[in-house]
């Protein structure tokens, strides 16, 4: 999974992971992938919901220790 950028949102509480993801995504080109690391359990549902309503695609998701990782492809 070739992400062009990795966003470290670990330790941040809602709504910061979403806000940071949005800002990082704004800098990407369509079709590029953003990798996000977060420890906010709310993000498990929030990031897919955010991607859905923004038209982006969650291409991969995994959990490692306390860290939740998402790969989101820009629409």
């Amino acid at each position: 999974m070739d992400a062009v950028k990795v966003l470290d949102a670990k330790g941040l509480a809602c709504p910061m992971p979403i806000v940071k993801t949005k800002k990082a995504m704004d800098e990407l080109e369509s079709g590029q992938i953003l990798e996000i690391h977060t420890t906010d359990k709310g993000a498990l549902n929030d990031l897919p919901a955010w991607a859905k309503s923004s038209g982006h695609e969650v291409v991969k998701q995994e959990e490692e220790n306390e860290v939740i990782k998402f790969w989101i492809k820009k629409a």
Binding site: V19, K22, S53, S54
Partner: protein, 131 residues
């Protein structure tokens, strides 16, 4: 597919501020057009001095530690994010007159208006929330 979110903020405590600004920033980050109408105690949330130290509800002061531990962002930080993402803040003129507040007492970049200013925005809103 921009949606519109209209929020009324009419309470002035710390918890109220989080309810308002978390939803507002999350909505703005989801490419929604957001306006908040601050009325009565809600004006605390955009008052230059008051918004930096909003009170916890009485008897709930012990939650301060939990907020710190969970790394909850400070209200001024959320406000800056919201304004940066284009959330529109409208201060209620009538409340300001009644409480003797000037526009200069409130945060920069806000609009001052009456109920109709908000209603005009809210009439086409997909989501309307009151806090």
């Amino acid at each position: 597919m921009s949606k519109r979110v209209a929020i009324i903020a009419s309470n002035g405590g710390l918890f109220d501020a989080y309810k308002v600004f978390n939803i507002a920033t999350a909505a703005a980050a989801t490419d929604q057009e957001v306006a908040i109408f601050f009325t009565f105690e809600g004006l605390n949330l955009i008052h230059k001095e008051a918004y930096q130290q909003l009170p916890m509800p009485e008897g709930k002061e012990h939650y301060a530690e939990g907020f710190q531990k969970a790394n909850i962002p400070a209200i001024p930080e959320l406000v800056e994010m919201a304004q940066d993402m284009g959330v529109k803040f409208i201060g209620c003129q009538m409340t300001m007159d009644a409480l003797g507040l000037e526009k200069a007492d409130l945060l920069d970049g806000i609009e001052v208006g009456g109920a109709v200013t908000f209603l005009d925005f809210a009439k086409d809103a997909d989501v309307t929330l009151t806090f």
